[in-house]
Symmetry: none
Subunit: 222 residues, 2 copies
DNA sequence: ATTTGTTGTTAAGGTGCTGTTAAGATTTTT
DNA sequence: AAAAATCTTAACAGCACCTTAACAACAAAT
């Protein structure tokens, strides 16, 4: 009976494009979660060996990955305990495939927005890092305190690292279309940037100038 | 009948220490959400004037605050639509007070863990602590006695510690969608906050301003 | 080697942004 | 109802930043 339920869930999820692995006991479930690090756990409380609640508690010791509990128990005491111990949702049988899928989408949506917050996109090359979310450039872990325009220039160059960006291209990108020919402002900004990020501004390690063409940033670490 | 339901919900929540405001129509609900920026919305789909779904859609235009839908409709089609349009949970009547409260706790837990520090109810960096449960900020163990708005700003920044939050983002999150451009209120609040939490407000240690962009809080102790 | 054009550097003026203070309006508390 | 606290708005001061200009250093070409 239980097996048919888990099989039912697996069929639903695989049928909608999710990769599913199945555990048949609590111990197996915990070890599989630890080793595979899934994006989401659908937990049937009616497991043979251990209490489902203890699995939730054990998993919550080290990760916040979403846990959706599926159970035949409709007692509010069970629901409240599971939710308070760390479950993110609680569905009682019988339930429809559509509802399960909708609640899975909600859970994954949550981890996605949390994930955006947690890990920020970065450019890294040697001691230099450009953190696009933090709006921060560091050298050897030290904040360079670039101004707004200085950061925009570095960010633009780092996004096209290895390629030469012409003066006109940078100007048009950051100062708008009617900025043709006034490279002066770029030169001043580059001098200030190099004073802040380069050990020896006269012999740059990160941003090179291609005479007569434009600037080029070193390629990132692979 | 409906009124008694919303009254019931209000009684439950106020009885458990939550501040509750009540809207009787969809239009009222949306304007109250925009102006008060609550921590959580409990939405009864059976409102007289507008479709509840459209409220979810409208709110999701500008914020991710948790929305729990309460409805008498048990049709899976309704559940799926609400959840996919942005609701975070869906409870069908009749429901128990304990279950509602448990699901409210889950939703609020999610907003806490949406930031960097997973699973912690406190933010700690050096002498500064932000206690989300007690709504209290301390420096060196001393209570800073922040006002409601001041605490919301600090809490928001600490949840995204290390990242720059733009003025517009903070304003939208705490003052609603039609607050574009009025940074003045933010500057005044920040001056008051710094006077309360910083040793030397002119040289801040905890909250930095990124000129032209926004504010950034120092990262927590690891 | 001189010339010419390009790039780097520094300084100064003007602009816009941020911090600060104060006063009135509004809400909450006593 | 009075008093206190908080929220909001406005005015202003200070400062960082942007921009421009003048000049120095450098590279390429005659």
């Amino acid at each position: 009976m239980k097996k048919s339920i888990s099989g039912f869930i697996k069929t639903i999820l695989t049928g909608n494009g999710y990769d599913v692995i199945l555990a048949h006991t609590g111990a197996e479930a915990f070890s599989m979660i630890s080793s595979h690090c899934p994006d989401l756990v659908v937990l049937d409380l009616g497991l043979p060996d251990v209490d489902g609640i203890s699995i939730i508690e054990a998993v919550r010791q080290w990760t916040q990955l979403p846990i959706i509990v599926v159970s035949a128990r409709t007692l509010e005491r069970d629901k409240v305990e599971a939710l308070d111990k760390g479950a993110d949702d609680y569905i009682t049988k019988p339930f429809s495939a559509a509802e399960l899928l909708a609640r899975v989408r909600v859970a994954i949506r949550h981890t996605r927005t949390a994930g955006i917050m947690a890990s920020s996109r970065k450019f890294i090359s040697g001691d230099l890092t450009v953190d696009y979310d933090k709006h921060m450039v560091t050298v050897g872990g030290e904040n360079c305190r670039l101004t707004q325009n200085e950061f925009k220039i570095v960010a633009l160059l780092s996004r096209c690292a290895g390629k030469v960006l012409t003066y006109d291209f940078i100007l048009k990108e950051l100062w708008g279309p009617q900025s043709h020919g006034s490279n002066q402002i770029l030169r001043v900004n580059m001098a200030n940037i190099r004073r802040k990020i380069e050990k020896n501004p006269a012999d740059p390690k990160y941003i090179f100038t291609e005479v007569g063409v434009g600037y080029r940033m070193i390629e990132p670490d692979s």
